[in-house]
Symmetry: C3
Subunit: 427 residues, 3 copies
């Protein structure tokens, strides 16, 4: 099967369009098919965790699959049809096949009266029930009378599916990029995030390893993150940073939500990288995506969340209006660039120790300084060397140097490299 | 003797009106009579500390009592009369009975030239002298000539009187509420404070004990607080918070003066409680009321001061214009409400430890979470639970949670209670 | 030889005028002659450090002296003449005596095209070369053709010269005042600084010793400071504070550049002293004068820099326009006053411990308090005593007290002295 180059906007959009129609949930074949498609771009290790497995305070639920669902009117016409949109069925609905009057059916119908043409997205993972979501307009047009309702679903022991993709780094310390795979046809939340994560993973596949090991996690929200954390107790200590990626394609400006720590390295890196772009930075709150789990007090990892408009922050959120038209190719490209920029800073952010800390070392004799003094225009490269030497006491990282000096991070890195090569700095 | 309900404005005012005329000082029968009247509302333990007792760096002074005092003109008319206002005599004046020309008398007269109709309030506790305070207008109308001056006072060994009222709490840790009882007819400073302290004490007399033990201290300024501290060395370690209450009834907005620590729990509680009211918050200074003693560097207690217009901050301060008209019933009621609100926060402010800190615990299976997911309107109660769980690492109190989350303290407390009942939190 | 009183503006200016014409560099007779003149005002200990001496990461260079230099045109006229201004020769130029066409000569000529009438200042200490600095106008007027160039200089083994002047204090802990002596005819940078340092040293020669020992360092920039630091390893630990003095006479407002620590005592003192004057305070950067060396990470001393317009911050910087007209007598006087004010605060800034920390001590019985109470106008002296008592817990200095209370430092010092005399404070 052919596929586009994910590093272009067109490639990203093509992947989003392929993933959008699938009926994903926290378990089931829609997730498996999603991971299959992502796997065409980057190799994935697929994990299947059986129903009933205890994971932290939770238990892996039964697996849900659905083939068809509809509400037929008295004439036999499908007035609500799962075939048209998988949002029409409440996620994890138990099977049903009955006739009932509209009055009784209403208790199982969900609409958005304020947005009469939109279909809401609803789930009921841990409380067995069934239901349909539909436009208020559709409901208003349904006469009283008998309706035939059918949900051809299965809720049975099976497994929860998640996938990992690992890019080995120079060191075993890890950066995790996590995105949820449990939402059906919601383009921004989170098909765009899945596609951008895959694209970002591809950019790391170069002969030159990244400094950190990058672990990409494609897993259902909440239960997926909890399952992964439960099964990776020994790995958690190696996680130096992480980002939960969601709502990554809408036209709003970028938003970074800090880790619970608030001053983790990832928080500083994102603040630095976003400074040149329209953006917002918000403090951690225990509501949103899987940063809730990574930042629970027992783990308290340096994991933030990168979105465009954040969780529940736009009217289209969790409705049929979060569709392919809602995500912008340019926005997805910008989110991807931001991830790459963040990686470029994070991977090069080190703390050095000045080996000649008493007075300035003589840069001139090492060819690191202009020989003709007295000129008042200090060159940026020389300033960067002086700053790196002055702050390299083991307590300041290169990002600290860049922030304190106001010099570009790239210049600071180049200065540190030159000084390291000259034997003036050690790691 | 009948008395009004202190928890109403009318009751507060009635008590203020009864206390106002008494001639209080740092010792003497005026204080005793004041405590007798307060004792009609709340049981008081009266302490008498003999003259000459060493208390910290101080010594309990002789007791002062006064029966009459006047300045008579040549015609025998009392131009200044203690019977009209106890402010007319300098507090702790030694006895005198002499005739003298106005020129000589002037050295013993105190006026407020800028406020010619007001009588100032003056004392001389530790330097034996005598004097009269009068309106500048009165002085201006006094012709030269002989005057008969009489102060029928006694300065003799006796005792210093103070009182305590204790409301036992669930724990022995204490909150102190202190107000000075040494000022004569000054309504705002501090008859209003005495009345409001008594009213606040009454509100705590419910079948349900407060969490902390509340100790009310009615004692003369400076020497009283020093005496109490000297005699309660063993108790000081149990004081978790405190408020010095003064100037509690004037029409100005509420003012909270922080403890010396500046970030004590009481400082945070008052800031939280006052946020919804017109108020000012000022930093500690070693000038004002008995917070000076509680916040001396050796004790450094978490004791702030609650006033309306603060110490010396209004023209009527320490003059005859601080009279019954100056205090407002509505202002006293608001001060009382603020104390009650502060107690409600302080008594319920705890730090919990999340017993399921790795990932979020599954609230749904404990009946603590809405079963139907996907809705974007997060309920406040659920948000409060998530915040309490996330921050309950033993280092955050519920007030921290309320401040960080922006949620009402009551919701946070309710969430903590529900989580505690579900076995998810421990104290 | 007679000389003016340095503590007057006229005396300062006279010294500046005498020093200005000398051809200083990082070594050589110009520096020696400069120190001789300074030595007429304050006794100096002169140090000569031989060429080749290893100092930290550096080596003392050869000594440079120059007698004459010129460019003669075809008619034999000196179009550029060292005799007119020592800026005309690139510092440390190797000897040359040749004829060459203008095209070849141009590679050795430095001008300021944007300031066509100004001569730039250039040096080449560590890379052997030669060159001339001249006005762009002069260059523009030079016809093509042969020129005779002569630099009658010597670059030979010798020594680096620096000087110290020490004012012994009550304690051996030191304050250093450092100024660079390596610039030729640049009035603000740093003849004014040399003169003001000498004047400041004179003000300390009173019968009453300063608290700290004050060490004045007159030495060439960079290599001088490095040489001093290399030879005074044992003394560095005694340096409690310091100021690098430069650009001390231009008409711009005062600028204080913080030490690398940012919160060293000297940083607090200068902020306090400058608060009443037009000023700027800037954070440390590893670029400027010898604070670069004192604040290198291995030393990290509490040394800031006092200038008027800072390093490289004015168009005249490192040009012939930094001449005698550029420095203002009033500005030099203000810089000197600021140094004296800073010394007055620094030398009196102590931390005391309240020996009566439980409650307030009774000031009245010690004659430290007005006996007649009840007056609402608190005297500044009494407020200062209360503040000093309250904050004297060993963790607050008198400067802390002044800042926290808003009271003048002098009042705070007077209060501390009174309390100390009364036995209420210990050092």
């Amino acid at each position: 099967m052919s596929h586009g180059d994910l590093e272009t906007g067109a490639g990203l959009r093509e992947l989003v369009e392929r993933l959008y129609p699938l009926c994903r949930s926290i378990t089931g074949d829609g997730v498996r098919r999603t991971l299959e498609i992502v796997g065409e771009h980057i190799p994935l290790e697929i994990h299947e965790v059986p129903t009933g497995t205890r994971v932290l305070d939770w238990t892996v639920p039964q697996e849900w699959n659905i083939r068809d669902a509809y509400i037929k009117d008295a004439s036999g016409r499908r007035v609500v049809d799962f075939g048209e949109s998988n949002l029409h069925v409440v996620g994890y609905s138990v099977p049903v096949s009955r006739k009932m009057p509209l009055a009784e059916l209403r208790e199982h119908l969900h609409t958005l009266p304020d947005r009469p043409s939109w279909v809401p997205y609803r789930t009921s993972y841990y409380s067995p029930t069934w239901g349909f979501c539909l436009a208020q307009e559709t409901l208003d047009a349904m006469p009283d009378g008998e309706y035939e309702v059918c949900i051809d679903s299965t809720l049975a022991d099976g497994s929860l599916t998640y996938a990992e993709h690992v890019v080995p780094g120079e060191v075993a310390d890890e950066v995790i990029i996590s995105c949820h795979t449990c939402h059906p046809s919601l383009a921004n939340d989170n098909v765009a995030g899945i596609a951008i994560a895959a694209a970002f993973a591809r950019t790391l596949q170069t002969p030159q390893k990244p400094h950190y090991t990058y672990r990409f996690l494609f897993m259902p929200g909440t239960i997926g993150a909890i399952t992964w954390l439960a099964r990776n107790d020994d790995r958690v200590g190696r996680i130096k940073a992480g980002l939960v990626l969601a709502c990554a394609g809408d036209p709003g400006s970028l938003t970074y939500k800090r880790s619970r720590r608030g001053d983790a390295e990832i928080d500083r890196v994102l603040a630095y990288v976003l400074a040149d772009r329209a953006h917002k930075i918000v403090d951690f709150s225990p509501y949103g995506y899987d940063e809730r789990q990574f930042c629970s007090p027992g783990f308290n990892l340096g994991v933030g969340s990168l979105t465009r408009t954040p969780y529940a922050g736009y009217p289209e959120y969790h409705t049929s209006a979060d569709n392919l038209d809602f995500v912008s190719t340019a926005a997805m490209e910008e989110t991807l660039r931001t991830l790459r920029d963040a990686q470029a800073v994070l991977d090069r952010n080190r703390s050095y120790v000045n080996l000649s800390p008493y007075g300035e070392p003589q840069l001139g004799k090492r060819g690191l300084y202009d020989s003709l003094g007295g000129r008042s225009d200090a060159k940026q490269a020389q300033m960067a060397m002086l700053w790196v030497l002055n702050l390299s006491d083991g307590e300041h990282s290169l990002l600290d140097v860049a922030e304190r000096s106001g010099l570009p991070f790239d210049s600071v890195v180049a200065a540190a490299q030159a000084l390291h090569d000259a034997g003036l700095l050690k790691d």
